[in-house]
Symmetry: C2
Subunit: 119 residues, 2 copies
């Protein structure tokens, strides 16, 4: 079964090492050796993560024979952001409701505090 | 190995049926039977997807014995949106650059067109 594009992106992002690689590449392109350093991982393990990210279109690799720099491709990240946008109204509504509840709670506590002091 | 929260969320979202379930629940809570209808899926298959969404904290299920309505929990979606935000500058920069390039291309074509007419 062919996996849809957005599912491939989400699956690629479902790993902390791959997200850390993206965070590193957000500061500029670098080689696989440079990427492997902070992770204390073998080169094959890093290469495997890079293949997953490349397949999802989240990174691209240079074609220079000796040095194949990796660079971030932000297109799929924009797609994820656009997809989450349709739910923004829902979480903002919930946060507003929570905010109202807390305000009422604080107001009630102040009122009760005043009552106690007046007794 | 314990999976981090954000990875669990991304993994749960890496499936078109689960994203469709969330889209349905964005319109209001409903029962598992109602959710199963449009997907032409068996109840156990739908229940399996619901368990993945529930584990990721993307949905919650009512505790009423007869009818256990599902409702969306937007917290993890906000986390995904917040995570993508740090890459917004990158994709906006790329789109700006593409825009500049296209504007230059259009300007050049207009200029070349005028030159040809003047010959």
């Amino acid at each position: 079964m062919a996996t849809d594009h957005l599912s491939t992106t989400f699956a690629a992002l479902a790993d902390p090492t791959r997200r850390a690689i993206l965070a590193r590449l957000a500061n500029g392109e670098c080689s696989v050796t440079e990427l492997a350093e902070p992770f204390d991982m073998s080169m094959p393990a890093v290469s495997k993560h890079l293949r997953v990210l490349e397949r999802a279109g989240l990174i691209a690799r240079g074609r220079e024979a000796q040095w194949r720099p990796c660079r971030i491709q932000p297109g799929p990240l924009k797609e994820v952001a656009d997809w989450t946008e349709r739910y923004r109204a829902i979480w903002e509504q919930r946060l507003d409701r929570l905010d109202n509840y807390l305000q009422k709670l604080t107001a009630k506590e102040k009122k009760d505090g005043r009552k106690r002091r007046h007794k």
